[in-house]
Symmetry: D2
Subunit: 367 residues, 4 copies
């Protein structure tokens, strides 16, 4: 939020609305401003966090120059500073989520390649169906990850933009220089400008929320399969044993699919969080009662959940112990009347999934 | 579902797996096959609808040629015929939703243009904020519709693809001709082929569900604003009076925002339906217990809700009565201490939104 | 809905507001009235289904007596007839759900008793933990069913009440006889009266929705465990084989947990449906825009889903094949270093659960 | 969590399983134990928070007596200490929520009494319907609060119970003394014992979550109505003006319904949080993958949201400014052709609602 206010002062100075010296002072104070979080929480509860925030910031600027202090937050509204502040947090968070997705996808791609010819049983409704290869199974995971990587990046890129409309949304206090301030502010913050303000147009956060939930779901799907394969009665794959992971407080003999559990936890929490974002699209007029505010908590929980699940399965696939022997033995025992080596188009399917992944991760595609 | 089976027979014939004459018989029977829906429901409840469906179809083919009957559904699995059947319904449904979105957006664009200079009060937290123009308000709606139109079309285009994997997902019973059958089948049905089967990869339906919920939310947002403006105490806009719409069973004097109500109804039901689709991403192995099945009901409800809300607001905006005088009068009374004609960048914002809409609806963009 | 209108006429006659002969005519017409559903849908879409419904009913009464026709629906409002009509459907539906719950619980109780001393492995995070008995496992299911039975009955009993407030909610057109008509109407319909109308107080449906979702979840939990035990690699329990159930359209060798799948399907759809009902509590003033209407579809889907899941698991437990030998063998193999017969308080726990079930199903407890 | 471990040591001593002196040491260390939260988070992420917690606690006990340290956590499992710890937080939180509900209900009751004869317009679909009294409107709110108070207390009372089953759920390591330890532990903690453990039976938290969401919805409903009445175009009621509440960071002239906004914020976030709890009922076997863990975050968010909304509206109703003149003036203007004083059974309805509230708050009813 302080970064926004500093950039606003500099942008206003660039178009001649604020003296350069004052902007310089505001900008410098913003870089090292300290806030009393308890006071923010206490006063912010009465309506908007921006009011006590601007008050505290203005006081710190006024301690340097009371004249400069008059320009703090000038022309902006609560939602400008809070939404842009949110975006400045979301952007690196989404970049990190994309990194984790790449790591997870690379793990799946490696399994798809390495086990392209490793026979295993396809299972439908938890019953053995027909033989497939384990690489093909990983390729199905990979195909989802390719779409999720593209979807998350696109949604993040669309959501991580400047919010700037002023109290009415039309930047009215900037008069004819409104557009110029907006472009300068966008440049200062390294965010795309949004000419049409999104104070009451919350679809971009909803779309990002859905993509995050889908990604959490994809990580959960991999966790589902790994945890089922790790049942000792099945024994076809296992998360790597590691000190301090997957133990039990009461049963030292246990080896738990702790990473899969984290991914499934996230996948079970994400859909309803996304639903909250989808349900905030109908605020009253130019700012509604509660829709905007409810997005803060929800986005935080959703981004953290998705990152947690994706990161867990990235770790899990990197160290995954695949028991090729057990796969063959189960197959022979479960599907003894079926041909054990008829994999149809499995090989070609794996190639396609690898191709989709390569396309999704090639340098030109990241926004 | 019968279209799928007919196309499968023809595709199999094209690659030499089924005698052309038999494929011809199956194909013709499929065109006019009749099904006992009650029997399908009764038997389908025991696991999968595809079993009684294939049984009934096979009987009808056998009545013509028992030899042809042996080729019905050959190499396919329940999920191939049900998912592809679903897609064959979804595709025109989504096209219709897109049409309704275009109609709704054109209505918003027309308001944005016509009322680009009509002053009205921006309202935040249901309190008057500052003057804006009504055209600017419509432009904010329009900016969301431009994104929703693109989003819905992309999601529909990604979701409306062939499902074809056979019982294991690898098309194993087609051996080396698997790819050829798939491509031929895709051609026969006019659907893109999906090399990697999506039996257990349900992200595309989740993404489509989220876009539909967002669109329902955007229509609901417009309905929210219209219904608030139509309060007699505000009186700034009204849905057109029309015989048989917006009446009351007990109060003949009433004129209700019946179309806004339909849009808000849909927007209140859509988020949780989308959440159900987002929660079905973690099925067990190659086909899960219930995730796939729960999508049928949910997609049906969600597509219908979205179409209902979008259609209602398309009608509402086409006939919207805008009371320019009341807007000016309220503005003068509510914000008498504010300049009544300082609209900042409103005009430029409207132009941008119209430009985004034009881009979204230009011929080249629809998939 | 016709039952409501007939009862309203009789109730109004009982307090002297409608001539007895006219009430008699209305009442008789209501018993055999026929409605054009397509016209209802077409016209109802314009706002409320009650308007075309009352129109069609009035026409049928007018065909007998135009004077009687003037009294149709007199003093009531749309929401009175639609909500009460909904309740008249919900009441037997909830009674049926309770019956299915009793059947399911009796199945669990029987397993708890029969297998009180059958050793099996407790499994946490899909890994073997320590020995328990299979009867104890069923007792945990049973403890939830006892609470769900009580909860569903209480919620249904609270929700299945008369809606009667007239257009304003105060029954104003009945003047001093308002209370008397309400009591008479409640008697005629066999529903409790609700003095405070619930046009805009929708918590009872929300509470019922939550209980139905919980019950669907409990049935799903049993389905989860049964389907995991039925994995051939585990083989400790199985749904009974039955012609036409659990087969595959492509793999005749398969035996699927088809009933568990139905229960899990319902449990995966119910939470979001309940969330929709929980989200409809904030309508605008005395009747909101869409909150009420969205409950119709949602309650229908939710009741059907819950009944489907409960019924499926009631069937599953009745025929459940428990493989005591496999349980012992797995236990010996999975937990060979653990004492195989240390069940702590398992026996006492089973007794408690059976006692709770007995209390929940004893004659005095059903509302 | 430390309270649980201390009580467990004392309970075990009472039944003779742990030397009294050792229990005394453990108990005293637990009272003042300090934990390294960062280490807990870091290690807990690997599976369960209980492992590093017990490790840190054991070290602190060992610093006093290495022999006592051997008895820390003895016989318990992760879920016992975490669930019981959660319950020990939930219990006072729910008591506080109930207090806030009483305060909110008392405010509504006061309005119902004071304005029993204050005429105002009923509004349906945001259009004037017929005259009612403002007291009657408050009585409808009150009727929901009476049910919510009872519902929340019952659900909290059912959910706030001891969790104690040991690693298998059967308390197997306590042998014949299992029941005695459980009863003693329940006594020590002032919680009801639960003979049947609820490690995998999560319906009680789901039921509590639904009640909290309903209460949040009821507070939101009151906020909805207050915020609509506070529109300056309506002007019939207003939240009390107060320094530092309801202001705007950019428009000093504004007076916002800030408390209603808080209530609506909570009501828009609560349903999906409750849905997450409703969706966690189907864990795998005796402990599932993620269902339990997802409840921690969700319960925290939900309790806080509900308390926030309820508290906000309790404040709002206490200071509510009711503009009786504006109500009469609007009524005369909006419904001039209607009798302005026909309130039917409104008075009797208010009495009933007050009676229900009195019953809900009478000393005997609180669990």
């Amino acid at each position: 939020m302080a970064r926004f206010e500093g950039a606003l002062a500099r942008a206003s100075a660039r178009v001649g609305l604020v003296p350069a010296a004052h902007a310089e002072i505001i900008s410098r104070v913003c870089e090292r401003a300290q806030f009393d979080a308890a006071a923010l929480a206490r006063e912010g509860r009465a309506g908007t966090l921006a009011i006590p925030f601007v008050k505290q910031l203005t006081a710190q600027v006024a301690a340097v120059s009371s004249e400069a202090a008059r320009h703090v937050h000038a022309g902006a509204t609560s939602q400008d500073v809070i939404d842009t502040g949110t975006v400045l947090c979301l952007k690196p968070a989404c970049a990190r989520v994309a990194e984790l997705t790449v790591q997870l996808g690379n793990g799946a791609a490696e399994l798809a390649r390495r086990h392209a010819a490793t026979p295993t049983a396809a299972r439908t409704l938890l019953q053995p169906a027909l033989p497939v290869t384990f690489g093909w199974k990983a390729a199905v995971w990979l195909s989802m990850l390719a779409r999720s990587l593209a979807g998350t990046r696109n949604a993040a890129s669309s959501a991580c933009i400047l919010q700037f409309g002023g109290p009415s949304g039309t930047l009215s206090s900037f008069g004819e220089r409104a557009g110029a301030v907006m472009e300068a502010l966008a440049q200062e913050l390294g965010l795309p400008a949004s000419w049409v303000p999104w104070h009451s147009a919350r679809d971009r956060f909803a779309r990002l929320g859905a993509e995050l939930a889908i990604l959490a779901g994809v990580a959960g799907k991999i966790g589902r399969d790994v945890s089922l394969l790790m049942q000792p009665e099945v024994g076809e794959a296992a998360e790597a044993a590691k000190a301090g992971r997957g133990g039990s407080s009461s049963m030292p003999h246990k080896r738990n699919p702790a990473l899969s559990m984290l991914a499934l936890e996230a996948s079970q929490r994400a859909p309803a969080l996304a639903a909250t974002l989808l349900a905030q699209l109908t605020p009253e007029h130019e700012r509604g009662l509660g829709q905007w505010q409810s997005q803060w908590f929800t986005l935080r929980e959703l981004v953290c959940a998705t990152a947690s699940g994706t990161s867990a399965m990235a770790d899990a696939l990197e160290g995954l112990e695949v028991n090729v022997k057990a796969m063959r033995a189960n197959l022979a025992s479960l599907l003894k009347d079926q041909p054990q080596d008829a994999f149809g188009a499995a090989g070609a399917m794996i190639e396609r999934a690898l191709g989709e992944w390569k396309a999704a991760t090639s340098p030109g595609t990241a926004p």
